[in-house]
Symmetry: C3
Subunit: 316 residues, 3 copies
Amino acid sequence: MEFENRSIVSVNQFDLAGLDTLFDLARRMKPIAARQARSNVLDGYILGNLFFEPSTRTRMSFASAFMRLGGQVNSTTGTVNSSLAKGESLADTITMIQSYCDVIVMRHHQRGAAAEAAAVSSVPVINAGDGNGEHPTQALQDLFTILEERPGRGVDGMTIAVVGDLKFGRCVPSLVNLLCLHAGVRFLFVAPPELQIPGAILRGVRDMGCQAIRTSNLDAALEEADVVYLTRIQDERIADAKVRATVRGSYVLTRAKVESRCRKDTVILHPLPRIDELHTDVDSLPNAAYFRQAANSILVRMALLLLVLGKQADVG
Amino acid sequence: MEFENRSIVSVNQFDLAGLDTLFDLARRMKPIAARQARSNVLDGYILGNLFFEPSTRTRMSFASAFMRLGGQVNSTTGTVNSSLAKGESLADTITMIQSYCDVIVMRHHQRGAAAEAAAVSSVPVINAGDGNGEHPTQALQDLFTILEERPGRGVDGMTIAVVGDLKFGRCVPSLVNLLCLHAGVRFLFVAPPELQIPGAILRGVRDMGCQAIRTSNLDAALEEADVVYLTRIQDERIADAKVRATVRGSYVLTRAKVESRCRKDTVILHPLPRIDELHTDVDSLPNAAYFRQAANSILVRMALLLLVLGKQADVG
Amino acid sequence: MEFENRSIVSVNQFDLAGLDTLFDLARRMKPIAARQARSNVLDGYILGNLFFEPSTRTRMSFASAFMRLGGQVNSTTGTVNSSLAKGESLADTITMIQSYCDVIVMRHHQRGAAAEAAAVSSVPVINAGDGNGEHPTQALQDLFTILEERPGRGVDGMTIAVVGDLKFGRCVPSLVNLLCLHAGVRFLFVAPPELQIPGAILRGVRDMGCQAIRTSNLDAALEEADVVYLTRIQDERIADAKVRATVRGSYVLTRAKVESRCRKDTVILHPLPRIDELHTDVDSLPNAAYFRQAANSILVRMALLLLVLGKQADVG
């Protein structure tokens, strides 16, 4: 997989070799991210951190990743006051902004916006979320975390319980795609029927030679899972008030549930923010990995930025 | 013309020698802006990038210009949450903020705000737009672009078609002022009667020894023009609904029109954003200069910042 | 007092030795803040400048302080578009953001938020304002200014007239606390009865061995004061319309009043912004110290950031 001067719009661009390259480099970022080593490899570079759709955590994460490598960040948040609001095309906005920076990270409310930006941009564009399209670096940091939490065991043959809103969330399809590059992964899709994984994804998993089962039985899935990926169910996504009442509280992880159902080494993940579906009493369990998952965003984003700028060899 | 420690509030401060100094330095910025050379001449300097009236592109352009020279940027956008909103005077705001930075770039909704800030500030203030007053660096980058697009031919004796909203736009008067410093410039002001250039500007042009003609005939003007400067007509500016309907579509550049009416070397400019008055099929014509015009903002702003900080000799 | 890796949530953490350490270091920051010396001691460090409750001046002041020391700043303003708005706990937000930076400065609308953030954060948290709780660095810069304006005389035995809104303002209680660490300070609390200093603070002053008098007589207080600390009375704080009418204009400093009532060396302070309670004709008096007070925020914040990061010895 080629990275230099390429835009990263979808996880579908990644093959196993590309993931290895990315994750090996991400691991080498650890001392720099922890400020134990200093890197100035991106001195002189400017990141255009374009959050037309705002997101504090993703914006700050990319900004810190770039700063840890010595680069400078030029940000924008929202579109209310920008030329986009005045009716300027996204293509024109990108054509102008590309002359201000060396790489663009972009979040936009519209599906397809990242591909559109990548098509016109002379600098690499990294998709930080395009509506209900993709958020590829989230999936990359999720997969990276799974590997880091299961040292020496990899992903092949793993069972993962994917829980919560599997119909509307943006995170799950991308992570599923990346996992399916591996052999024999078994997916337990745990959700209320109204929010189950779409059939197309189920078929895609099976076409890739992996297994997929739909269930609403969280407890049973927890007992089988090597990894649990919990997502939040937003009430508003469920049209039927009766169903909403039934669902509430049913797809929730508490310490008691984790301790009674999961193995000690079952990895618990959540893309955050969590509200009440993941109780704080789970946090202190050694296998609660979601804050390490969030911190890993810095490592993966540092590595990806270096790769698309062709600067990985200069890290030293 | 003196630059060091001076505020730049109006194009009227510029003479031909000052423009030469600025543009020579801007050309020297090319390798640095393209990241082929690295400059740290503004290491340790802080820009106060005060966009009390927001503008993504102008704010990001000044920020990148300062970063390319190794400086750091401290920005603010809007006034809703600031002390200005609580009734603090602009003079007080500037008096406080000047102790946080070494140079101020300011956009404010009120005409005269830049001059007011410059009057109290102990650091240079660059006007990035003061209501319906001026936006001097836009005019400077426009003139710079004309010179760059017509190498060896300069501005003297040139014919420029200025098209669109000549009554309410902020860009046109400043560019006209700068062009009038040159000899024998011929202005074709092309607009619907309701949006024609004010008589005072017409007289000012003639007082400076240049020619000025008002017309509503775009096609004829295109045939004579060395440079076409297109601006957008905002519907809301035209009070009469019948006139609005007539005007719509009449001051529009399409590839067909440019190819049939303009010479091959006629320079096409637009301050952007463009909506439907400048068709995208014009973009690939060699003489479509508007995105180069936008990119030139970085060069001109880098040069201006260096000059007001007295750091031009240190660029090397 | 220990600083390294500690959070600064309240002025109550400070003892006299701690204030000496902080202020000695702040004085050493003067050439760096004035860009006469260059410091890169915080090269590689990232400040998480979290203004969940916006404040242009405090945010920009902390940002400039960090930049003057060679660090980089990662900011956020407001909560509308953040995970906090989606119901994420402050503890979770801080737990995530701490992996993006080395120190956090935080302003939040809720009293107690700074302590809550400090409790979960692995990096130091500096309270930049927590609702009607505290804004400790404001009080520190106020005390530092008093010392700088009265060289060689210190604070012991000083008389300070604290004027205006003593009931609702956040600045006054913290400054009073710091002053009470000193011997024999005499407080003249000058306010309309509705906005007088709460009895608890009065008693606290006396318990610390200092004197406290409540009065509504501004003129008499000005005659006795070594320092005058003026705060703004916001109309809306006074419920009774008749009282509001009486109060308006009664707690105002004009040049005439200062010249006729104060000594030439009486220090005039105001935390700013000022509206009409402090006339601009006072500004040119040598003892009008409020803009120096604002500029001192940079020195005190630079020093505090160095101390909590344990980098004061590396300044050189």
